[in-house]
């Protein structure tokens, strides 16, 4: 009965809500759906790693079977389906825990750099003048050093470990958010609704975050999504160079770097972590591309 009334009260021609519209656009895109499903699977593996992983990622349980092959190769065993690494640890468990590490790095870098980018970008756009100039020159400076080189230098300064990886990657990706937020805020500032809000006596903080920021969100969301995968790739590259997470942390890039010399003897120890990186990054990028098309139909060109 109550449901009937609710249905009756809904206007027949209500325009679909913003969220519903975006969702429809997304689900029409097969790539984006594939990306989303993969992200959810990897995300679940990351969250429930402690329950899914058959063994510990750090304990050398199979010391007698170091570099044993995965189950689909002769000599493999179901007790370690993806093989054993050079230190006698179960590869499958390490890969599952690696999902947690890599996603955490990606999301942490994205959240912190978006937050910092929003604050700095709005500041630059609203203040203008010296503040704007100083900030943007600083961002130019950061961008003039090739990203991995800068990350390497930062790690050299603060030392290699998991948390520092996040900082080293973050500083590289900060400028793009600052510039994006500043540019979209500058485009919004001369519009009538901003003037109206000012006339109505809205304070500067409220004007920045509640009036202008929501209108800059679409490009920011897309950039942030793609930023997760970029950050994961960058962190993996650092790990590969031995400048990221240190053993026994099962970060995918570090796993690959540590096992590099074993490429011929035990290819699976090298190839599997890389495959995990690739699949996750492809999934996030597909989803990000789909999101862009869904959020901004003007850009939709295939």
């Amino acid at each position: 009965m109550a449901a009937d009334i609710a249905v009756a009260r809904t206007p027949a021609q209500a325009p679909p809500s913003f969220l519903a519209e975006t969702w429809r656009g997304l689900t029409e895109n097969r790539g984006a759906v594939f990306g989303l499903v993969t992200i959810i699977l990897v995300g679940l593996a990351a969250i429930f790693a402690d329950f899914i992983a058959p063994h510990s990622y750090a304990e050398q349980l199979f010391r007698d079977h170091t570099l044993a092959p995965p189950v689909w190769v002769d000599g493999g065993s179901w007790s370690y389906p993806f093989g054993v690494d050079q230190a006698g640890r179960d590869m499958l468990s390490r890969l599952i825990h690696g999902a947690r590490i890599s996603l955490t790095i990606g999301v942490a870098v994205m959240v912190v750099s978006v937050a910092m980018g929003v604050v700095l970008g709005l500041l630059a756009a609203f203040r203008g003048g010296v503040v704007d100039n100083l900030l943007m020159r600083l961002m130019d400076l950061i961008m003039s050093v090739p990203d991995l080189v800068l990350s390497v230098v930062v790690v050299a300064i603060i030392g290699p470990n998991l948390i520092n990886t996040i900082w080293a990657v973050l500083i590289v990706f900060l400028p793009r958010y600052v510039r994006l937020v500043r540019a979209s805020a500058l485009a919004e500032l001369p519009k009538d609704y901003v003037t109206a809000a000012k006339v109505a006596g809205v304070g500067p903080i409220r004007l920045m975050f509640l009036t202008v920021l929501p209108n800059c969100m679409a490009p920011l969301i897309v950039q942030a999504t793609l930023g997760i995968s970029d950050a994961m790739l960058q962190a993996a590259a650092l790990g590969f160079l031995g400048l990221g997470a240190q053993p026994p942390v099962p970060e995918w890039g570090s796993m690959l770097g540590e096992a590099r010399s074993l490429l011929q003897r035990a290819p699976w120890v090298v190839t599997l972590p890389g495959l995990c990186i690739l699949v996750t990054v492809v999934a996030i990028n597909l989803f990000g591309d789909g999101l862009r098309d869904a959020l901004d139909p003007k850009l939709k060109r295939g």
Partner: protein, 320 residues
């Protein structure tokens, strides 16, 4: 100037004294330590050190490696051609394959070819290239034994360095098979480093082409009976190239970053390999001078691309 300040001060924050590292296991007397510090200017106040450093750079002196005792600039110049050769080859590879692939995808929009090309581009764009390099070594060098997996040329050749570019030097040296050897050493690193630019160029060419194929002047060209090849190759491609060139310019910085990974995987004796090795040895003058030199090169190249862009697209030139 700001770049100098950034590299200088940031690297001073590095924990661990370079002298401590060099001292190693053998003990050095405190007097000798103080003398060494004095020689390297490490006992001066920080602003004094900085000012001295700026003066040095103004004189073209980017410091001296504390491991090999060679000037940083000299080491850089010796290794830089190897990186340039690799990046140029990678860029060429990306352009030669990327532009036709993008055009093909645009012309066959929505067909199987389009899906294959776009799918490959998304994968390439997401590629962890250090892994891709190792994978190619495994498949091509180890399993199939077609191309070698490291260094610039086989050890049995002794090529005098004239231009620094191995391909040119081997031609000049007139030794049998040397050129082919150098070329086979270049192929895998080139593919690895070129993968991401290839993906980017393919995507941009495709979307630029799709946009332009809808323009009125393309329809006019078709209507007046020009052959499809002429329409696509001449009228459409020229305009589609504008965003492509911009993107190629934007790739320079990421190519250098990619070179760090590629050179490490393939033991390619270029500046990326050199930087990572220096970091391992805590050779700060090299790291400091090297990062500075790399950044200067990148900024210079970007400026050059901006000028080039004005040449290709007259609209920008008049606009300014």
């Amino acid at each position: 100037m700001a770049l100098i300040a950034l590299t200088f001060f940031s690297l001073r924050l590095v924990p661990g004294d370079p002298i401590e590292v060099r001292r190693g296991e053998r003990g050095i007397s405190p007097e000798r330590l103080a003398q060494l510090r004095h020689e390297m200017g490490l006992d001066q106040p920080l602003y004094q050190q900085f000012w001295d450093y700026v003066k040095q750079i103004a004189h073209g002196d980017f410091g001296t490696s504390i491991v090999s005792h060679t000037p940083v600039l000299k080491e850089f110049m010796a290794l830089f051609p190897a990186t340039v050769e690799l990046t140029l080859a990678a860029m060429l590879f990306a352009i030669v394959i990327g532009i036709p692939a993008g055009m093909l995808a645009a012309l066959r929009r929505g067909k199987a070819t389009d899906y294959v090309v776009t799918g490959a581009a998304v994968t390439g764009n997401s590629m962890p290239i250090f892994w891709w390099g190792l994978l190619l070594i495994l498949l091509v060098s180890v399993k199939m034994d077609i191309a070698p997996s490291g260094d610039r040329i086989d050890l049995l050749y002794d090529i005098p360095s004239i231009t620094g570019f191995m391909l040119i030097d081997t031609l000049l040296s007139d030794q049998d098979g040397a050129f082919m050897s150098a070329l086979s050493h270049l192929v895998l690193p080139m593919i690895v480093l070129g993968t991401i630019p290839l993906a980017v160029i393919t995507r941009i060419t495709r979307s630029a082409m799709l946009e332009i194929l809808n323009e009125d002047y393309v329809r006019t060209a078709r209507a007046k009976g020009l052959s499809p090849l002429r329409v696509v190759g001449l009228h459409a491609l020229r305009n589609a190239l504008i965003p492509v060139v911009t993107v190629i310019g934007l790739q320079i910085s990421s190519l250098i970053a990619g070179a760090v990974q590629t050179e490490t995987v393939f033991s390619w004796p270029g500046i990326g390999h050199w930087l990572i090795e220096s970091l391992g040895r805590r050779d700060y003058p090299v790291l400091q001078g090297g990062v500075l030199l790399i950044s200067v090169v990148v900024v210079g190249l970007n400026l050059f691309i901006d000028l080039l862009y004005g040449l290709i697209n007259p609209r920008i030139r008049h606009g300014r």
